[in-house]
Each structure stands twice: as structure tokens, then as C-alpha cells.
């Protein structure tokens, strides 16, 4: 079961992936479109996610907000984040479904050291493969959206799978299926962008001049996109990154540093080897020993 067909993968963590087999049609890119302007924050998506994925999120306490659980966990792959946005006399209750964005250029995958623990299918879904996960937490560092969580019990990383098991049989992800108001749409990425365009026209007609699509190019676009009423200020929505990108630190760490480091080590080794064969060993001669005897004896004499 754990054996993946490499042909279906576009990327595989800590490994190279051969291109899809010739003659096999490329899977069409899929996307989930979350229309924040239609979201009522009912948490049906959360419930459907818990149920479909058989997640056992412990029952918590209320902290005086509607955010429950208060953050993503290993057993809550999506949570609603409620923001009360007051401007002048007007109030808006911005409710954003948080969860994996399925970046086209996934930082988690880039950071992951375990071969095949994170995969990206040719349709764009980024999935975690538990049996390959070593629980190092590098994916957390790689993620620009602070999504993956490491389990304290299994020491594996977890996040939304975009219901890859449902998508593979032609079903929409559980959250999108459940969403009562169609705030969550699922389809091909092209269709979703087109649908978002219509929604944005509607929102602009209702006075949201800055309505727009959130499909950040800093991570190559995402396979989970938002329609935002205020696309000019994504951070209004419970800190959605205005311009997400894989951290330059992660870029250095998982980019130039890897070859440079190996090169440096190789260079150091080679230098020693060359030095040895050109200069030879630094040996102690009989003369040196004699001198030592002399010194010791001289000392004795003194």
C-alpha cells in the first residue's frame, strides 16, 4: 500500500522523481476554492474532516471565542478562524477556514529530509505519507502557512490531505462536499479560478472594491485558494500571509547549503589527500629523538 507509483508523483521529498511516463495523460491540476464571503463559519467542514479522516480530536475548553479547537492539531486538519473586523461604524465578521494550502511549490516538501514522506501528485495535491515520516518537524519550518503539526504520540507530521483518497475516486474532499453554503468549491484549478472571477464580480457589485482571489505566486500558486472581500489585506483574515513564500532561510538551508556543504567537506578531504601525497607525512626523525634524549639527559645532568 505504501508503495507509490512514482509516475503519479510530481515531487517526492528528499528524492528525485522521474517525469510521468510518456503516453500517460497528465493529471489535471485540481484546486479547492474557499469563498470567504460565503462562509458562515458553521464548521461543517471541520466536522466532515474529523469524521471522514477518523480523527480523534480531544474535547477541549472554550476560551471565549468561536475558534474551537483554538488551533490546528494533528487531529484537526482544518479550523475556522474568526476575526471581528471593525472599520468605522461597520463590523465584518471574517471567517476563514484554515488548513493546508497545497502550495504548488511546497515548502514542507522542500524541507523534508525523509524520502517519500511528503509527496506532490501531478494534480497538485501535497500529501504526507506517514510510514516514511520520521517526525523531524522540518516540514513545519518549511511551511509558509504554519500548517503541519507533529503528534506527541506517533511522532508523525499531519495535515490536510485534500482527501486524496476521495479525489482519486472522483469525489470532492469531505469538507467541500459538506459545506452548506458552497463556500468551499472543488474542481480543476482552471475552473476554480474562473468561478472565483464570477464571485469577485458579484462581490464588487456589493461594494467590496478590493475583492479578489488569493492564489499567492510566492509559493507558485496554491491548490487551495481563497476568495477574499479584502484581497488587498489578506492579513486581516487571522494573519493569512500577505505575501507568502518559502522562507529565505529555508531556501538557503535546503538550497545552496546542501551542495556547498558537501563540496566544502569534499574539498577539505581532497586538500588533505593532496597535501599528503605532495608534501608527505611529517615524521619524527632519529635526529629528533636524539635531540630529545640530549635534552632529557642535559636536564638530568643539570
Amino acid at each position: 500500500m505504501s508503495v507509490l507509483q512514482a509516475l503519479d508523483l510530481r515531487r517526492r521529498s528528499a528524492s528525485s522523481v522521474p517525469p510521468p511516463a510518456a503516453g500517460k495523460p497528465a493529471a489535471v491540476a485540481v484546486a479547492k476554492l474557499i469563498d470567504v464571503s460565503k462562509c458562515i463559519g458553521c464548521k461543517a467542514c471541520q466536522a466532515a474532516c474529523l469524521e471522514w479522516n477518523q480523527l480523534d480530536q480531544p474535547i477541549g475548553y472554550t476560551d471565549g471565542t468561536y475558534d474551537n479547537p483554538t488551533d490546528l492539531t494533528t487531529a484537526s486538519w482544518t479550523v475556522m478562524r474568526f476575526t471581528e473586523y471593525e472599520h468605522g461604524d461597520d463590523l465584518e465578521w471574517l471567517i476563514r477556514k484554515d488548513g493546508c494550502m497545497h502550495c504548488d511549490d511546497p515548502g514542507c516538501l522542500k524541507a523534508c529530509p525523509a524520502p517519500g514522506a511528503i509527496v506532490q501528485y501531478t494534480n497538485g495535491i501535497v500529501d504526507f505519507v506517514s510510514e516514511n515520516c520520521i517526525g523531524c518537524g522540518y516540514c513545519l519550518k518549511g511551511c509558509p502557512f504554519n500548517i503541519p503539526r507533529i503528534s506527541q504520540t506517533t511522532s508523525k507530521a499531519y495535515k490536510c490531505t485534500l482527501c486524496s483518497d476521495r479525489v482519486v475516486v472522483g469525489q470532492a474532499p469531505a469538507c467541500a462536499k459538506a459545506c452548506p453554503t458552497q463556500a468551499i468549491y472543488f474542481g480543476t484549478k482552471d475552473d476554480m479560478i474562473a468561478h472565483a472571477g464570477k464571485r469577485i464580480v458579484d462581490l464588487k457589485s456589493r461594494g467590496y472594491q478590493n475583492a479578489g482571489l488569493y492564489n499567492p505566486q510566492g509559493v507558485g500558486g496554491t491548490h487551495v485558494m481563497y476568495v477574499l472581500q479584502h484581497a488587498d489585506k489578506p492579513s486581516l483574515y487571522a494573519g493569512l500571509p500577505d505575501n507568502p513564500h518559502i522562507s529565505p532561510l529555508v531556501g538557503i538551508w535546503k538550497g545552496v547549503m546542501k551542495p556547498l556543504s558537501l563540496a566544502a567537506i569534499a574539498f577539505a578531504g581532497a586538500f588533505g589527500f593532496l597535501h599528503y601525497i605532495t608534501k608527505g607525512p611529517n615524521t619524527v626523525s632519529e635526529h629528533d629523538e636524539a635531540k630529545a634524549d640530549e635534552l632529557a639527559a642535559g636536564k638530568d645532568r643539570a
Binding site: 458553521c42 469524521e51 474535547i59 475548553y61 476560551d63 471565549g64 474551537n68 471567517i95 453554503t181
Partner: protein, 816 residues
């Protein structure tokens, strides 16, 4: 609902007031988002707090809890004063032109006929029309007569100026006028507005009048019977509609027939007041068949024991002196007048107001039987749960049974949804342990009682031993058998009315519709509005053809909608008096010269020509809808604003009559109401999207999504009381005290009432001391034991409290 869930998508304006559809009915609310996305609809939300519905609204207006009538009357004043009514519709389909009797008046907060000693309108005779010698109501089609209903209405609502609305409701004038303007855009046949409400309107001492106000607005706008229009009650439980249809109610019998009162000593007496008498020429009504419905029902219930000679077993029915509704029952229990109680899936300790009174009442019972799939607070009322529920088991002598039932996918049968659509569901698995279906349990109970009465005799055994019980397995009737019995059979061969030599239905065949019911005992049928649900063609509730030929969301072959599979009530009104659609956009049922055609079942005989002037509102004797309610409501033919019983201010309109004068208050509850000097904060209660009533606190995932009781309040109040988000607070009312965690929010803003800020807090109803959620004080500890003047729905939505910071409950962890 007069319209259907799917029909909401046809609306151009959606008003959510007296409810919070997004929160309580998310999947129904879907059709609001559809209307917005595909029909360009605008959503108005009027609510004390900024709700989940408000989050996706185009226009939100705040309102103080319990002041809806003032708001809606203000809307009526705006519409009438600015000519924003659908003139032709109002003239044709309402009683606007009917002349009201002289002597009717409204003065100082009281309508004519009030008897202060009885605290009721003992004499409602002036609340009626003038009649001519034929017994027909007098009308003035020119609407000039000063006592035309519409002119009286204009005068009645004249006091509700935008300034007065702002003073009472706290709704800023500009917001109020924006709401009015948007609603007024539908005062034509081109556009329509739907009204979605729920317990936010019903759970007030003026509950029925709240809804009436909205119905009147929809009539003025011409939005009744129109696609995307209507007054739509979004109902609560999965089969609350069906159970109400089947009259699990004190004073009704199935199909909204009325149980005899003790004044109706004989069947003839009973029928005298039920017989339909038209008061407009040519008007027809369902009710002209009342006798057929009643006799067929008695035949279903008592079979051969119901004969013409014994007045169809009229005496088998109990005769009532007064209504024994939930508040009355609790009052009787608390007064020691009850010995036994059955709770079939109803958690009365949580559900009735003033928990202390309910608890005392349960403790006075000799025995109680809980029939439920879940553990309930009621079943454990005798158990001590510390400060959440203090009880002394040793002192409580009530014998309690818990009978486990199947639920959900563990049994089969039909449910009737909020828009009257009856759908069948199938069984998938067995219930847990030894659980049994409700049908089995009731059948078992009846069989044992019947056996005991047959064997031993006892008090009036006749109805018990003569109840029809012709099921293949008497201890376990099949749902299909029951649905057939409900539909009704021909008990003897029925001749074809067109050709009496031929047989229309053979004995034993299922009735095709209520039109063939008879009052001579030859047909049975337990609930006339359901007749047609199971015919010789099969079980209509099982139909699953989702096609929608008109695209209007009618789905005529999906399940079965009572009555007669009609999906949109009063649909005759979608056409003008000549039978032409008001507009192409709202075309629904039209007259094609020989019959009514369209995607739905017309209100009356499809061949009844428009020139016969039969009104669409066939439940009324006049065939028109009532702007003036006549004597139908116990608290006035027009709605009037009264303060909730926990009155926040003296009524600015008539300070001497602050609260609804026709409300029933039990002697024991005389001191149960709070005053603003001690309880200066207005509280309202509601449901959360994450929970269903008191059930889902037993469901793990729902407990995850909302784990604990909280009290929502605005930043102003929190600051004044030194309360932070997540702090424990004590909320107290005249009835009791609870503790809960504070949720401080910008969504609660003080409402300016009479120029002064009024703080409102909100309390979800779901949490209790049983369940997977954190233990909590039941909210009904706080609520007042009083109900609506018409139907006694408890006043859960507006009451007075005080709030202060406190310490965590003893048995709750201090740190979250």
C-alpha cells in the same frame, strides 16, 4: 413554511429576523446563498447580535430583543405611508377593503373588550366585519370607508414612526429606513422577498403576533403565494412538523382538527361551530369537509367501534376545559397535581423555563418514564451534580424508568420537514444493546394496558380496548402499515360519483386523496392532510425523482408534500385576479382559459375559473388573507408592541400597559419576573451551529467544536464589569443563577434604547450536566415561566439579568 427550502433561491430580498438561519439551519441557508449568488438577492439581517447570518448579509440592523412588533409595525407604516404596497394584490387577496364593525377600538394599549379581572379579551365581538343580510362580509372596494381594515391598520401603525422605532428597538433610524427601502423594492409582482424566522419570533409573549406582523407585511408587498416569497418558519426538530400534524398536542387531533371542549357536549354541538360557512360569495374551503375528515379519523382510531349511532365514538375523545401545554403541565407537576409522566425524546428539565420549578415538579411525581436514545438531564434529575444541579436522591421518591430507543438509521419511517415534504428513510443497522423502536415501545405499552383493561376492567376501558390494532404483528406494527392507515382506506366499495353504477374504489383500497373522504363511515384516514401519501400507486414518501421541470425548485415528484402534494401554499396568489402571472419572472400558476397550469398543484380545483372570484386563502371563510385578524388571536386583531414580561422599560406607547395584557401567568409565578433596577441587562438565548438542541453534547465531534457553555457580551459591558475573555461570570435573573465563561465580542454592541445604551448578552441553550461537553449549569435556570398569549411558547428570547465576574465552579478545572 408557506414556501419550500428550495424556493428561497427565487427570492430577490431575504429577510432574516427572528431567527438565525445560517446558524440553526445551515443547509437551508444554502438557498439564501444561492439566491445571492445566482439571483442577485440582497440579504437583510435584523438581530440583537451580529450573527453568522449577519456575517454574510448585505444589510444588518440591530434590534433590542422583544421589540420586533415595533420594528415591523414601523415597516408597515413606511409601506402604507409611501405607497409602497402591491395595490392590486392587496385589494384582491386581502381583507383590506372589508369593513370592520363599529365599536372596535384601540385605546391606551388595549383593544375593545378587555376584561381586567380575567386578564383577557373576554368580548371579542367587535373584532369582526360588518355583515349583510346574506351573512356576507361588507366590503368597500374603493378603500374609502374609514373602517376598512386597511384604513384601521394605517391608523394603528401611525404611531410607529422611525423615531419611535429607534426609541423602542434601538435600531438607528438610517438603518431602519434602509431596511424599509429594500423591502419596498418587492412591492410589485416583479420582485419578491422571503421571510425566514424561527424561535427568535415565537419565543416571546407576543410570539404569534410577531409572525402575524411579518405576514401582514408580506401581504402588503404581495409576497404571499409567490416564488421566492412567503413567511417561512424554519422548524427545529426533524419531525416537529409531522408530530404537530399528528397532534401530539393538548387540544388538537391530527390534521389540525380541534379536540372537543367540554362545552361541546355532543357531536352535533361540536360540528356546529366547525362547519364551514363562507362569508364571501362562492368561497370554498378545505374546512367544508371537516365532518368527513373527523369521521374518517375516528374510523381510523376506533374502527368498527365508531358508528353513526355512537356519534363516531365521540365520547371516546377526552373533552378539554383548558389547554394542557408544557407550561401548564410543569405548573401542575410543581403543584402536586400530577403523578405520572412520560418523556418520549423530550428533555423537559432542560426544555421548560425556570428549571427550579421543573425540578421541583419532577420530584413530586410518583413515576416517570423516559423513552429516549440518549442519557438526558431529565432522566437524572434526582442525581446530585454539585452546583450544576443540586439534588438529594434520598428525598426524591420518584420512580424512574429509562427505555432505550433506536434512532436515526436504526429504524425506518417517514419524516415531514419544515416545508411539509414527507420523506421516507430506510433502516441501515440495528440499534445498540436492547434498544427498541418507539413504535415497539408504544405498541407494547398499549398491548399491556389493553390486556389489563380487558382482563380487569377499570375506568372507562372502552377507548383502550376498542382502539384499532389490526397489524400483522400487534407488538410490532410495521411503519408501512401505519402510513397506510394514516392515508386511509375505503372501508366499503365506494361508487363513482359520476356514474354510481361503477365502483370508484373497492373496499380495502387506499384513498387517492382527501377529496374522496366520506362522513358516513365508509372511509378511514387518520390525518386528512396526509391522505395521498400512500395510494394504490405506492408510497409517495419514497419517491426520489429529483427533477425540477420549471427550474423553480418545485421538485414535485420528490417525496410528498401535504396538502395534496402542494409545494407552495396560496399559489393562486402568484397570478393576478384574472389569472395572469404578475410578471414573467414570478410566473408560477396561471389560468390558461380552461384550467390552472404550472409546475405545482393549485390551491383549489384546477378548473375553478378566476371569474368565480374564489380567494386563494381557502383556510379562511372569506378566502382572503387577513390584515385584520378578526377574533382569531387572543391578544388583538392587529399586532401591538408590548414589552417582554421582564420589561426593560415602561412601554413608550402606553406606559400603563407595558406588557401583553392577555398573557397567562400562573399564580405560583406571580413573583417570577425581574425588573431593570435589579437586573439591568437584557439577555437572549439561542442555538449554535455546532450543536443540535441537547443531543449533540453527547456527540464527540460536536463537543470538540463547541466544548463548553459561554456567555457572549459586548466590550462595553465587559469593561464596566472588569471581565476579560474567558473569565468566569455569574449571570443571575429573578429565577436563578448560572456561571459560564465570558466571550467578549465586538458583535454585541450596546443598543440605544430611549436614548440610553442597553447592554445585551447572549446565552446558548445547549449545555447541561450530562454529556461529553464540559458540565454546565442549564440555561433554563434563568428563563421566565411565561408564554405567548396565543400558543404559550415560553419567552426565552428576552429576559432581564445581571452579570458579574466570579470564580470557577467548584468541580470545574480552574484553567482552560
Amino acid at each position: 413554511m408557506t414556501n419550500s427550502w428550495n424556493d428561497i433561491k427565487n427570492a430577490d430580498v431575504v429577510l432574516i429576523m427572528g431567527g438565525n438561519a445560517a446558524e440553526a439551519h445551515p443547509c437551508g441557508f444554502k438557498w439564501v446563498t444561492e439566491a445571492k449568488a445566482n439571483n442577485g438577492a440582497k440579504l437583510i439581517v435584523v438581530d440583537p447580535r451580529f450573527t453568522r447570518s449577519a456575517a454574510v448579509s448585505d444589510l444588518y440592523a440591530p434590534i433590542r430583543p422583544g421589540t420586533d412588533i415595533a420594528f415591523l409595525s414601523g415597516v408597515m407604516r413606511y409601506l402604507l405611508g409611501n405607497g409602497k404596497i402591491h395595490q392590486e394584490y392587496v385589494k384582491a387577496f386581502t381583507n383590506a377593503s372589508y369593513i370592520v364593525r363599529e365599536g372596535f377600538k384601540f385605546e391606551d394599549g388595549l383593544f375593545a373588550g378587555y376584561d381586567a379581572s380575567k386578564k383577557s379579551y373576554a368580548d371579542r365581538s367587535t373584532w369582526d366585519y360588518e355583515f349583510d343580510d346574506q351573512g356576507m362580509a361588507k366590503v368597500d372596494d374603493t378603500l374609502q370607508h374609514p373602517r376598512c381594515a386597511i384604513n384601521l391598520l394605517k391608523a394603528h401603525v401611525a404611531r410607529y414612526t422611525p423615531e419611535m422605532v429607534e426609541r423602542i428597538c434601538g435600531t438607528p433610524k438610517d438603518k431602519f429606513l434602509k431596511v424599509c427601502e429594500l423591502m419596498a423594492t418587492t412591492a410589485n409582482g416583479e420582485r419578491s422577498m422571503t421571510s425566514l424566522y424561527a424561535l427568535g419570533w415565537t419565543q416571546h409573549t407576543t410570539g404569534a403576533q410577531n409572525i402575524r406582523s411579518m405576514a401582514m407585511i408580506q401581504l402588503l408587498l404581495g409576497n404571499m403565494g409567490i416564488p421566492g416569497g412567503g413567511v417561512n418558519a424554519l422548524r427545529g426538530h426533524s419531525n416537529v412538523q409531522g408530530i404537530t400534524d399528528f397532534a401530539l398536542l393538548s387540544t388538537s387531533t391530527p390534521g389540525y382538527l380541534v379536540l372537543p371542549t367540554e362545552k361541546e357536549t355532543t357531536f352535533a354541538d361540536y360540528m356546529k361551530s366547525r362547519a364551514f360557512k363562507p362569508i364571501r360569495p362562492g368561497q370554498t374551503s378545505f374546512w367544508q369537509n371537516y365532518r368527513k375528515f373527523f369521521v374518517s379519523q375516528q374510523k381510523s382510531l376506533f374502527g368498527a367501534a365508531a358508528t353513526k349511532d355512537n356519534d363516531w365514538a365521540y365520547d371516546y375523545l377526552p373533552k378539554f376545559d383548558t389547554a394542557y401545554d408544557v407550561l401548564k403541565m410543569v405548573d401542575m407537576m410543581a403543584g402536586g397535581q400530577m403523578n405520572g409522566l412520560f418523556c418520549q425524546g423530550l428533555n423537559i428539565l432542560m426544555a421548560a423555563p425556570n428549571k427550579a420549578k421543573v425540578q421541583a415538579g419532577l420530584a413530586k411525581l410518583k413515576w416517570m418514564v423516559i423513552i429516549d436514545p440518549l442519557e438526558t438531564e431529565t432522566a437524572h434529575f434526582w442525581e446530585n451534580h454539585g452546583e450544576f444541579h443540586n439534588a438529594d436522591p434520598k428525598a426524591i421518591q420518584t420512580e424512574v424508568f429509562q427505555l432505550p430507543t433506536t434512532a436515526y438509521a436504526e429504524d425506518e419511517g417517514s419524516f415531514t420537514n419544515s416545508s411539509r415534504v414527507i420523506q421516507w428513510h430506510w433502516k441501515a443497522v440495528d440499534g445498540p444493546g436492547e434498544s427498541r423502536s418507539d413504535i415497539q415501545i408504544i405498541a407494547d405499552l398499549h398491548s399491556r394496558l389493553r390486556a389489563l383493561y380487558t382482563k380487569e376492567g377499570g375506568a372507562f376501558p372502552d377507548p383502550i380496548v376498542n382502539t384499532t390494532w389490526a397489524y400483522a404483528k400487534p407488538a410490532h406494527p410495521e411503519p408501512v402499515e401505519l402510513l397506510k392507515e394514516i392515508n386511509g382506506y375505503a372501508l366499503e366499495d365506494l361508487p363513482n360519483p359520476a356514474d354510481p353504477t361503477k365502483v370508484m374504489l373497492k373496499a380495502g383500497q387506499l384513498l387517492p386523496g382527501f377529496a374522496v373522504m366520506r362522513d358516513d363511515g365508509k372511509t378511514s384516514g387518520a390525518c386528512w392532510i396526509y391522505t395521498g401519501v400512500y395510494t394504490e400507486a405506492g408510497n409517495m414518501a419514497m419517491r426520489r425523482d429529483a427533477s425540477d421541470p420549471t427550474g423553480l425548485g418545485i421538485h414535485p415528484n420528490w417525496g410528498y408534500s401535504w396538502p395534496a402534494n402542494r409545494r407552495l401554499l396560496y399559489n393562486r396568489a402568484s397570478a393576478d385576479p384574472a389569472g395572469k402571472a404578475w410578471s414573467e419572472r414570478k410566473k408560477y400558476i396561471t389560468w390558461n382559459g380552461s384550467r390552472w397550469v404550472g409546475g405545482d398543484v393549485p390551491d383549489y380545483a384546477p378548473t375553478m375559473a378566476p371569474d368565480k372570484s374564489v380567494g386563494p386563502f381557502i383556510m379562511n371563510q372569506e378566502g382572503t388573507a387577513r390584515l385584520f385578524a378578526r377574533g382569531a388571536m387572543p391578544d388583538g386583531p392587529f399586532p401591538e408592541h408590548y414589552e417582554p414580561m421582564d420589561a426593560y422599560i415602561a412601554n413608550p406607547l402606553h406606559p400603563k400597559v407595558t406588557t401583553n395584557p392577555a398573557v397567562r401567568v400562573f399564580a405560583a409565578d406571580a413573583k417570577s419576573f425581574g425588573t431593570p433596577d435589579k437586573f439591568p441587562i437584557v439577555a437572549t438565548s439561542y442555538r449554535l451551529a455546532e450543536h443540535f438542541h441537547y443531543w449533540t453534547k453527547n456527540v464527540h465531534d460536536n463537543a470538540v467544536l463547541q466544548p463548553e457553555m459561554f456567555v457572549e457580551m459586548g466590550e462595553r459591558l465587559a469593561k464596566a464589569k472588569g471581565i476579560q475573555n474567558g473569565d468566569w461570570v455569574e449571570v443571575s435573573s429573578q429565577r436563578g443563577m448560572i456561571k459560564a465563561k465570558a466571550s467578549v465580542s465586538k458583535r454585541f454592541r450596546p443598543i440605544m434604547v430611549d436614548g440610553k445604551p442597553c447592554d445585551v448578552i447572549g446565552l446558548p441553550i445547549h449545555f447541561g450536566f450530562i454529556g461529553l461537553t464540559r458540565k454546565s449549569y442549564p440555561l433554563n435556570t434563568l428563563t421566565p415561566p411565561v408564554g405567548d398569549a396565543s400558543v404559550n411558547t415560553p419567552e426565552y428570547k428576552a429576559f432581564l439579568v445581571d452579570v458579574k465576574k466570579t470564580t470557577p465552579p467548584a468541580s470545574s478545572p480552574a484553567v482552560a
